[in-house]
């Protein structure tokens, strides 16, 4: 069930250049049962910024009623969020959207998890759940450069982990697809989150038969009512058929939405 709650900041850490890891505590965590969903945060009680900010869930700890987000402080809203300190309250709406289907991967299979930049975080909770289920995970993380890279070590604890940076300052020089080719990575199922250009390149690569991708889009309400974050489908790329990223997604089966 979707809920709105004033949650308490447990910790806030700057883990890479402009990248923050924020952990919140509250009852709402008990509603978080699927990786890849997101929360919608009101970072200010004032009218600027007016709208909420959609942020993906990176780690769920239901035992302690805590969850963690990783975000880039780039715009006005996320910069304000970065100022929150332990003990502060944050207005959280969620969990929202449809996440990554863990059940699509079978025990003993290999899943390739590919993240680009700020699309990496939701894969962390996903990878833990896949491993719990006995699915082998291979991680490919793409960043602009070494100074904005994060969580490589944490992913490495869960499975093979490859990093690509555009400037070559860490791992393979180039994109995630370059790392996939370089190491000839293969698996049964693909899960990915990141920029549309990356998702499109992955679809073209046809690495696995089955795959699920998570999209980003500017949102209004975050619950499917305002039609701000709509996209076309591959079946009907110019017609009236559509999917709402916030409520039908953000995760879609590969090949469903037009990228």
């Amino acid at each position: 069930m979707i809920k709105k709650e004033w949650m308490t900041v447990v910790s806030q850490q700057n883990i890479a250049k402009n990248i923050y890891e924020l952990t919140l505590q509250g009852e709402l965590v008990q509603e978080m049962n699927e990786p890849g969903r997101f929360v919608h945060l009101k970072v200010s009680g004032q009218t600027m910024p007016l709208l909420r900010r959609p942020i993906s869930i990176a780690n769920i700890d239901q035992t302690n009623s805590r969850f963690t987000m990783i975000y880039r402080a780039e715009g006005e809203g996320t910069k304000l969020l970065a100022e929150k300190k332990a003990g502060d309250q944050v207005d959280v709406l969620g969990p929202l959207g449809h996440g990554f289907p863990v059940n699509e991967a079978q025990t003993g299979e290999t899943a390739i998890l590919v993240g680009g930049g700020i699309g990496v975080p939701p894969l962390y909770e996903l990878s833990q759940r896949l491993n719990e289920k006995g699915v082998k995970t291979i991680h490919v993380l793409g960043f602009q450069s070494a100074d904005v890279a994060f969580y490589e070590a944490k992913f490495a604890e869960l499975g093979e982990t490859y990093v690509a940076t555009v400037d070559g300052s860490l791992g393979t020089k180039g994109f995630v697809t370059d790392a996939i080719r370089e190491f000839n990575l293969q698996g049964d199922i693909l899960y990915s989150c990141g920029p549309v250009v990356m998702l499109r390149a992955l679809e073209e690569l046809q690495l696995t038969k089955k795959g699920f991708i998570s999209l980003e889009e500017r949102m209004g309400c975050g619950i499917g009512a305002c039609f701000a974050c709509v996209c076309h489908t591959q079946n009907d790329p110019t017609g009236t058929e559509y999917r709402k990223v916030c409520s039908d997604g953000p995760v879609f089966p590969m090949g469903e939405v037009a990228l």
Partner: protein, 313 residues
């Protein structure tokens, strides 16, 4: 009768607070958050004869105390709204106001004829003020004669009262209001969004794919107040006021300006529980200020026998 119960043409409202069209879809999403029965009414998303995908994204951009949107009247079309959305929404005990849009007079007439015949629809809201479509929409809302003609044509076929949604993008709002009153309108809803734009400093191009969009949110409230203040003194039509309402104080201000009911738009996005919260708070406000009925406040900012001190908290 409760302090909030409000009677308007075609509508008996438990309270005068309703979500504005385009900010609430057809109610399905918000029904997961709270019981829609608490609402005064629901203004459903604009319906056109054929399904519409709307504009490319980005469709929204934030602005100081507001937002721009250019959705472009995305909707499943008249047939699906009649078959699917209205019957579903009718499970709630809430009057439905159907927002009607089109590209030409014939489209409006056709949608109005069909949708007003639905047993679930209590009133129409004629959308002559959408700024985000190439044809129709605002084109009907900026020339008084055109607006009057369209209102008349829709009135001829509508089986329920017709409220006309006015655009603020005009030099003389009173003239527009009088024109649609002459055309036979039963009420007014005002205001729609103000045409605006934002430019991305990195690309040097407009942020919205549609380039321009409609500005809403607290930023436009003073414009709405001024227009309702002017129009309410010059027409006899009831006014459902909207434009940046997010607090009970805003609602009181709209009433003092001349509103008979209010709609909540953008605030539903920042706080999806805003409507039920305001309904509760408005009742408490009236009680605390010994106001027997909300309608006592209508037009008090300009009426000669106004008892302003009566309303001070």
């Amino acid at each position: 009768m409760s302090r909030l119960e409000t009677k308007l043409p075609g509508l008996t409202l438990k309270n005068p607070i309703m979500p504005a069209s385009g900010c609430f879809g057809f109610g399905r999403e918000f029904s997961q958050l709270y019981d829609l029965d608490v609402l005064g009414a629901i203004m459903i998303k604009a319906t056109t004869e054929e399904p519409r995908y709307g504009n490319p994204t980005p469709r929204v951009a934030e602005t100081p105390a507001g937002m721009l949107n250019a959705i472009g009247l995305q909707n499943p079309g008249l047939e699906k709204v009649m078959e699917r959305e209205l019957p579903w929404l009718s499970q709630y005990n809430v009057p439905i106001i159907a927002n009607v849009a089109g590209s030409q007079v014939e489209d409006y007439v056709e949608v109005a004829r069909t949708i007003s015949g639905s047993p679930h629809v209590q009133a129409l809201e004629l959308n002559i003020s959408c700024p985000n479509v190439k044809t129709g929409g605002i084109a009907f809302g900026t020339v008084p004669e055109t607006a009057k003609h369209l209102t008349k044509k829709v009135k001829e076929v509508s089986e329920v009262p017709v409220y006309v949604k006015l655009s603020p993008n005009v030099s003389n709002i009173v003239e527009m209001a009088k024109a649609v009153e002459d055309g036979g309108a039963d009420g007014l809803t005002m205001i729609n969004t103000l045409l605006g734009m934002r430019i991305d400093l990195k690309t040097g191009k407009p942020i919205l794919a549609n380039r321009t969009g409609g500005l809403s949110g607290p930023a436009i409230k003073p414009v709405a107040i001024r227009m309702i203040y002017e129009v309410s003194q010059q027409t006899n039509l009831p006014i459902i006021g909207m434009g940046g309402i997010s607090t009970v104080e805003d609602i009181i201000e709209f009433y003092l300006a001349g509103a008979d009911a209010v709609a909540i738009g953008t605030a539903n996005f920042s706080n999806p529980y805003i409507c039920p919260e305001l309904i509760k708070e408005l009742d408490e406000y009236l009680s605390a200020n010994q106001i027997d009925h909300i309608s006592e406040l209508t037009g008090r900012s300009w009426s000669k026998d106004g008892k302003r001190t009566y309303y001070c908290s």
